[in-house]
């Protein structure tokens, strides 16, 4: 599994650094993020699929920003690595656009994280209930075009999808700040502070804030102290893990008994997505029993099963 060793810890993440061709500006933002104590950033590409003659224009994932050794020095000392991820945010308004965001598209799977920004209630409900995405981002800088409802949000939380609140617009302008806080508290009444990711969407390095400051802002949005801190650390990690399970296509489980003399001991392993899309279930005698997995079923990272 990619980055599995590094992902074990609850590091501070910023999952929304807008990608631009201006590499100098981007480098400044990333360097500032390192300075502030983030250990992981995601470069974000925002697209509106299906805008040019029915073709989905999804650019290939951006290359990580090249950083000088002096910037990475604090990580070198600690024997850790700075993580740069890629994220795709698709703005969806129609059903047609919705179907463009399917995980079978190889360009989309090349991204580490997949996010959608629904523009109307139908798309919001679809994103919460059925779309295979990791993050649902809402444009909070204006009055939301629809009323949030409890049922889809509950469903999204149950599926492990995260909601994103971006804070940089709130720094830029006082009107935007009012909208962001009001919309965020609105969202918080439904999700009770769970499954929230706080990220920056900073267009300039100066708009970034340190993780503890962002967590404090989260308190203002209506989360409690612990939840606010989780929103910049643990929740980002779970969003990333959710992305990894999604990336592995249909969940594949192989159950193997490692020691035949001790019944009940089972090791569950995950097979890389490319190798097979079948579920292999080996029994005591070693007989393989193959089963086709229903396509489109929700993947599972770890399955625990007890064979008697």
């Amino acid at each position: 599994m990619r980055n599995s060793e590094k992902n074990k810890m609850a590091r501070f993440c910023d999952f929304n650094v807008p990608y631009s061709e201006n590499t100098e500006n981007l480098r400044q933002i990333v360097e500032m993020a390192i300075k502030l104590g983030y250990e992981s950033v995601a470069l974000n590409c925002t697209v509106t699929p299906g805008t040019t003659k029915g073709q989905a224009v999804v650019p290939p994932p951006p290359k990580p920003v090249e950083l000088s050794e002096a910037t990475l020095a604090p990580f070198m000392v600690q024997g850790k690595a700075f993580q740069q991820l890629t994220r795709l945010t698709a703005i969806i308004e129609t059903h047609e656009q919705k179907y463009k965001v399917n995980p079978n598209n190889s360009t989309i799977t090349a991204y580490d994280i997949l996010a959608v920004q629904p523009l109307n209630l139908k798309m919001f409900e679809a994103a919460c209930k059925e779309l295979e995405v990791d993050i649902i981002s809402l444009d909070m800088t204006q009055k939301l075009p629809f009323f949030l409802r409890l049922t889809p949000i509950k469903r999204a939380i149950a599926r492990g999808v995260h909601f994103e609140i971006v804070y940089a617009p709130a720094i830029r302008d006082s009107t935007l700040r009012r909208y962001v806080i009001s919309n965020a508290t609105d969202l918080m009444t439904f999700c009770k502070g769970k499954n929230i990711v706080l990220s920056s969407q900073a267009e300039k390095a100066i708009e970034l804030r340190g993780p503890h400051d962002v967590a404090n802002l989260g308190v203002l949005f209506g989360m409690n102290q612990a939840q606010a801190k989780d929103a910049v650390s643990i929740n980002c990690r779970s969003a990333l893990l959710h992305a990894e399970t999604r990336g592995s296509a249909v969940g594949v489980i192989s159950i193997e008994r490692i020691m035949k003399q001790t019944p009940g001991v089972i090791s569950v392993e995950r097979i890389p997505s490319a190798s097979t899309d079948k579920r292999a279930l080996e029994k005591d005698s070693g007989e393989g029993q193959d089963r086709e997995d229903p396509p489109g079923k929700k993947p599972k990272l770890v399955a625990k099963k007890k064979i008697k």
Binding site: A10, F12, G79, G222, K229
Partner: protein, 367 residues
């Protein structure tokens, strides 16, 4: 259905415990308190009415032991039989993992009592296969676990079940970290440096000495305190202990207390009543300081205070713990929320009375 949201705007909780006692009291906890606070990052001494640090106290500061930084030590090395027999059991060993943030990474510590404390994430804990307790601070969502391994147990030897289990766990997870280390051997026969030769062959070792810093104040306003009264005097004759502690914090951070209350940068002013002192000295030493050094330092300050020549009304000795240490006092768990402070201050009066302030952050058990 009406949904109203309450925003909790209270700051993160923190605790301050104040007690007053006398050094002459048989039941006084001052020694125990110092000894149980195993990992000290900084010790600072503030003496008002004194332009230079007394030579006897300065000598104690200079006598602080050096400490070592050993890089990339696998945890299996800590349960090595030779290591336990030669160092853990024959002296006070203080080890603390370096550059590990306790809220983000796994953190480890070896206490002088012989316990190896691991504060690990859920993933590591499950992989480790050792029995531990879920962390006190996030009981609802079990995220961190604390595992204790008693290295000094008689049955903790190779071949025994428990030992092998711990060893297998460490080998499987390949846990390693940089460690700060300080060792005080029992008796005088062995040299403290011999622990370095144990690690030097296989790991990168660095020897560091404590960094000292002195700052002097002139014309400083001192709050008036009364050694037997923690609360504020009824007719405002002296300040309360809390006001005094806040003032000490401001002085030690270098915040000016003489500004007018409407000043732009700092509105803090010295609590009333106060008196002017011509000079004051603040001396600090930073590094990895063993409690033994703090004890001797405390004795030196006490003997200086008993000395009739001294003119200072009191002296304040503060020891800051490491913010990312897995324990604060003794084996009490310590964590990091927005700050991981764990510190104590002795306010030593001339009449051998003292006040002890113990301050901890949000994720801490009350000392």
């Amino acid at each position: 259905m009406s949904l109203t949201l309450k925003i909790d705007v209270r700051p993160p909780r923190s605790k301050l415990v104040i007690e007053k006692s006398s050094f002459d009291d048989d039941k006084s906890r001052h020694r125990k308190n110092v000894e149980e606070h195993h990992f000290n990052h900084m010790v600072e001494l503030f003496i008002p009415g004194c332009a230079e640090l007394p030579p006897s106290v300065q000598a104690e500061f200079d006598r602080c032991d050096d400490y070592y930084l050993i890089k990339n030590v696998p945890l299996t090395e800590l349960i090595n039989k030779d290591f336990i027999e030669n160092f853990v059991k024959k002296g006070s060993l203080y080890m603390l993992s370096h550059n590990t943030h306790i809220d983000k990474h796994n953190a480890y510590a070896v206490l002088p009592t012989g316990q190896l404390i691991l504060s690990v994430h859920k993933d590591t804990y499950e992989e480790l296969g050792l029995v531990g307790q879920p962390s006190q601070f996030n009981r609802k969502v079990k995220r961190k676990f604390v595992v204790e391994v008693d290295l000094t147990q008689d049955i903790f030897v190779p071949g025994k079940k428990n030992y092998e289990r711990v060893k297998q766990g460490f080998q499987r997870t390949k846990l390693k970290a940089d460690f700060l280390l300080s060792w005080k051997p029992e008796g005088t026969r062995q040299l403290a440096g011999s622990i370095l030769s144990h690690f030097q062959g296989s790991y990168e070792c660095e020897r560091h000495s404590q960094a000292q810093q002195t700052s002097r104040h002139t014309d400083l306003l001192l709050p008036v305190v009364h050694s037997t009264e923690l609360e504020e005097g009824e007719d405002g004759q002296w300040c309360s202990a809390r006001e005094w502690y806040e003032w000490l914090g401001a002085v030690s951070c270098g915040i000016s207390c003489n500004e007018a209350p409407e000043h732009y940068i700092s509105r803090y002013s010295c609590p009333d009543p106060n008196e002017l002192t011509a000079a004051a000295v603040r001396h600090s030493t930073t590094g990895f300081i063993a409690p033994g050094n703090v004890c001797t330092l405390q004795e030196a300050v006490r003997s200086y205070m008993r000395d009739n020549k001294s003119t200072c009304p009191w002296a304040a000795l503060t020891a800051h713990g490491f913010v990312d240490s897995p324990v604060s006092w003794a084996r009490r768990e310590h964590g990091f929320h927005h700050g991981g402070e764990n510190l104590y201050t002795f306010l030593i009066f001339r009449d051998s009375n003292y006040w002890l302030f113990q301050a901890v952050g949000t994720n801490d058990i009350c000392p």
